[in-house]
C-alpha cells in the first residue's frame, strides 16, 4: 500500500493511502486517518468528499515538483527522498556564498577577489525583466572569489561570488 513522505514549505509529513471500494481511500496523515471519496475530474483536478464536506483540489506535476492548490492555498510539494540539492532559496547565504535569486543577466560586477567589503555593500547587480537587483555582502569580510562577469546569463541559485568573514 502506498506510503511515502511529502514536504511542503519545509515541513515533512508521512502519508499512507489505502484504496477501498468505489473511489474511497483511507488516508493516514502522520497518525490521523480519514476516509475520503476522491475522483480525478481532470488532469489537474481532484474532487474529494470527506463525509459531506467537499474539497476541490487543483494539482500538477513538473518533474520532481508537485503542486497543490486548495481554497486559495497554492503549495509546491516535494517527495523528499527525490529532491536533491537546489531546494534552498536564492540571495545571500550564511556561509558567504552569494547566489542569484532569479535567472537573469549580470549587469555589473562591483568587486574583485581580494576586495574588502562591508555588510550591505553591493557585489553584483543582476537584471531580469528590466528590474535590477543588488546582491550584497551578508557580513563584513573579503571577497574570496567572483564567479561571474558582466553580461553573463545566470540561472536561479548560481553562486556568483563568495565572501569570507573578516577574522577576529
Amino acid at each position: 500500500m502506498p506510503e511515502f513522505e511529502l514536504s511542503i514549505r519545509g515541513v515533512t509529513r508521512r502519508v499512507r493511502v489505502e484504496a477501498g471500494e468505489g473511489g474511497r481511500y483511507q488516508v493516514t496523515l502522520d497518525d490521523r486517518t480519514c476516509e475520503v471519496e476522491a475522483r480525478r475530474t481532470g488532469m489537474h483536478a481532484i474532487s474529494m468528499l470527506f463525509d459531506e464536506r467537499s474539497v476541490d483540489a487543483r494539482v500538477a506535476r513538473d518533474g520532481d515538483r508537485r503542486f497543490v492548490a486548495v481554497d486559495g492555498h497554492t503549495c509546491t510539494v516535494t517527495l523528499p527522498e527525490r529532491s536533491a540539492g537546489a531546494a534552498a532559496g536564492g540571495g545571500a547565504v550564511g556561509d558567504g556564498r552569494i547566489t542569484t535569486p532569479m535567472p537573469g543577466k549580470v549587469v555589473a560586477v562591483k568587486v574583485a577577489a581580494g576586495d574588502s567589503v562591508a555588510e550591505g555593500d553591493t557585489l553584483v547587480i543582476v537584471e531580469a525583466m528590466k528590474m535590477e537587483h543588488d546582491l550584497r555582502a551578508p557580513f563584513d569580510g573579503k571577497v574570496a572569489a567572483v564567479h561571474c562577469q558582466e553580461g553573463a546569463a545566470v540561472q536561479f541559485g548560481d553562486v556568483v561570488a563568495e565572501v569570507a568573514p573578516t577574522e577576529g
Binding site: 513522505e5 514549505r9 480519514c34 508537485r66 492555498h73 535567472p103 528590474m131
Partner: protein, 503 residues
C-alpha cells in the same frame, strides 16, 4: 477606414487589442519575438510576423522590423499597447511617414507629454497644480545630486522618458544619491534608450490617483473618472480600484476638469491618463500624462460601460466621440489585481519559469485580461505580467469580496505569483477602510509570507497524497531516484514528446 491593425506588443494587452479588433471586424497582425512563437497573441491574430530574438531591443523595440512587418502584411494601422514603443514619438512619426496610422496621439503631443519636464511646463500653463521638481531633464550624476539637495530630500529620481517604475528611485539620504542616480540612468537607458532623468520632491504617504480621458480629432473630449492606484510595490501598481475611496463627486469633477484642461491645451487625441498625487488633505498635483492605454484601463471600462480600446481605434479612424460626459457617472465599484510572475515573499523578484497549469474562474462581474495558458514559458526578457483580474460589483465591499473569491479560485502553478498576497491585502483592515496610500505595502505587508505549512488545511496534504497515488507509477518510498516514470504525464510533457517531427 482602418482595415488591418498590427499590434506592436505582446502578452495580455496584445490579446486585449486583438479581441477588440476582431469584434470591430478589423483584420489583425501580431508581431512576436522568437520565444513568443506559442503565445496567445500569435494564436489569436489573423497573421503573425517574427520580428527578432528575445531581447526587446532586438524585437519589440525594433522600429524598422515592425514597420516592415506592417508593410509586408498590408496593415494600415499600428496599435502600440503600453510599454515598448507606445510612448515613442519617433515611432509614431515613422508610422506616419510610412502612411500607417499610429493608434495614439500625434507625435508632437507624445513628445511634449513624454518628456516629463515639458509636460510639467504645459500643465503649469494650463493651470494644473504641480509637485516641486527639477526644471529640466538631467544627464549627469553630479547635477542630479545638486538638484536633489536644492529641492530637499527625500526626492524621487525618475527616467525622463517612459514610466512604469523603471528607472525610478527614492532617495532619502545624501550618501545614496550618486549610486541611485547611476542605477536609474542605467535602467532608463536599457528600458527606453535614453538615460536622462528627472528629480522631484517625494511627497510622503501620498495617494496615486489618475484620470482617464478620451479625446477625438474634432475637439471633443470626455473624462471617465478616476482610478486609485496607490497599492504599489517597487513604485509599480499592483492593485487598482475605482471609484477612489477619497474622491467625492465634486473632487472627481475638479480633477476631471483639470485633466481636460490639459487635453485641450496640448490638443491631445486618443485615450490618455493624467496622473496626480493626492495628499492627505485632498490636494492634488499633476505628476505626468501617459499618452497610451494603461494597464489598469479595464476598471474604468467596468464602471462606465465604455470600451476604451475600441474608442482608440475609432478615434484613429477619425470618428467623432459620441459619449456624453453626463452619461459617464461611475456605476458600482471595480478592482483590478495584476498577476505577475514574481515572488511577493521575496521582494517581488521576478519568477520566470514554465506555467505548468493555470486556472481562471468565470462568472458574473469577473473579467480576465490574460495571456496565461498551461505551458507558457515565462522568460526573463520582459515585464512579467501574466494576466489581470478585474471584478465589478455594486459597491466597494462587494467588489472586495468578489475579488477575494476569484483569487481563492485562481491557480497558477510553476511560477510564483502574488495571488495569495493580494488576497491578504484585500483583507487588511487598512485596505478595507480605504486607507490606501502608496506606502501601503511597505507599511502593512513588508514581512508578508504565505504562511507556514502548519497553517495549511489537511486537505492540501491529502490532495497531494491522492494526486501521487492517482497518477499511478510506483508507490513505495523506496522508489527514490527512479524519477517520475510511469506516472500520468502532464500535457506539456506529452506535447514536448510529440513536438519534434511527426514521424
Amino acid at each position: 477606414m482602418i482595415r488591418k491593425v498590427l499590434v506592436a506588443n505582446r502578452g495580455e494587452i496584445a490579446v486585449r487589442i486583438l479581441r477588440a479588433c476582431r469584434e470591430m471586424g478589423i483584420a489583425t497582425v501580431a508581431v512576436y519575438s522568437e520565444p513568443d512563437r506559442d503565445s496567445l497573441p500569435v494564436r489569436l491574430a489573423d497573421e503573425a510576423v517574427c520580428v527578432g530574438p528575445a531581447p526587446a531591443l532586438e524585437s519589440y523595440l525594433r522600429i524598422d522590423a515592425i514597420l516592415d512587418a506592417a508593410r509586408s502584411t498590408g496593415a494600415d494601422a499600428i496599435h502600440p499597447g503600453y510599454g515598448f514603443l507606445s510612448e515613442n514619438a519617433e515611432f509614431a512619426e515613422r508610422c506616419a511617414e510610412a502612411g500607417i496610422r499610429f493608434v495614439g496621439p500625434k507625435p508632437e503631443v507624445m513628445r511634449s507629454m513624454g518628456l516629463k519636464v515639458e509636460a510639467r511646463d504645459i500643465a503649469r500653463a494650463a493651470g494644473v497644480p504641480l509637485v516641486p521638481g527639477s526644471a529640466g531633464a538631467i544627464a549627469e550624476a553630479d547635477a542630479i545630486r545638486e538638484e536633489a539637495l536644492r529641492i530637499g530630500l527625500p526626492v524621487l529620481i525618475k527616467a525622463s522618458a517612459g514610466g512604469g517604475g523603471k528607472g525610478m528611485r527614492v532617495v532619502r539620504e545624501e550618501k545614496d544619491l550618486v549610486g541611485a542616480a547611476e542605477a536609474a540612468r542605467r535602467e532608463a537607458q536599457a528600458a527606453f534608450g535614453n538615460p536622462a532623468v528627472f528629480v522631484e520632491k517625494f511627497v510622503e504617504r501620498p495617494r496615486h490617483v489618475e484620470i482617464q480621458v478620451l479625446a477625438d480629432e474634432h475637439g471633443n473630449a470626455v473624462h471617465l473618472g478616476e482610478r486609485e492606484c496607490s497599492i504599489q510595490r517597487r513604485h509599480q501598481k499592483i492593485l487598482e480600484e475605482t471609484p477612489s475611496p477619497v474622491v467625492s463627486p465634486e473632487m472627481r469633477e475638479r480633477m476631471g476638469t483639470a485633466a481636460l484642461d490639459l487635453v485641450h491645451k496640448v490638443g491631445y487625441t486618443s485615450a490618455g491618463t493624467v496622473e496626480f498625487l493626492v495628499d492627505a488633505d485632498g490636494s492634488f498635483y499633476f505628476l505626468e500624462m501617459n499618452t497610451r492605454i494603461q494597464v489598469e484601463h479595464p476598471i474604468s471600462e467596468a464602471v462606465t460601460g465604455v470600451d476604451l480600446v475600441q474608442w482608440q481605434l475609432r478615434i484613429a479612424n477619425g470618428e467623432k466621440l459620441t459619449l456624453r460626459q453626463e452619461d459617464l457617472t461611475p456605476r458600482g465599484h471595480a478592482i483590478e489585481c495584476r498577476i505577475y510572475a514574481e515572488d511577493p515573499a521575496n521582494g517581488f523578484l521576478p519568477s520566470p519559469g514554465r506555467v505548468v497549469h493555470a486556472f481562471e474562474p468565470n462568472g458574473p462581474g469577473i473579467r480576465h485580461d490574460s495571456a496565461l495558458w498551461s505551458g507558457l514559458q515565462v522568460t526573463p526578457d520582459y515585464d512579467p505580467i501574466l494576466s489581470k483580474i478585474v471584478v465589478h460589483a455594486e459597491d466597494r465591499e462587494r467588489a472586495i469580496a468578489k475579488m477575494r473569491a476569484v483569487l481563492a479560485e485562481t491557480v497558477v502553478f510553476g511560477v510564483e505569483t502574488p495571488i495569495r498576497f493580494l488576497f491578504d491585502v484585500l483583507a487588511h483592515p487598512s485596505f478595507v477602510s480605504g486607507d490606501t496610500t502608496t506606502d501601503f505595502i511597505d507599511r502593512h505587508m513588508k514581512d508578508w509570507t504565505p504562511g507556514g505549512a502548519d497553517e495549511l488545511p489537511d486537505a492540501v496534504w491529502i490532495a497531494a497524497a491522492l494526486d501521487r497515488v492517482l497518477r499511478g507509477g510506483e508507490s513505495g518510498s523506496a522508489a527514490a531516484g527512479e524519477g517520475a516514470s510511469g506516472e500520468l504525464p502532464e500535457p506539456w510533457e506529452t506535447i514536448g514528446r510529440f513536438e519534434i517531427g511527426g514521424r
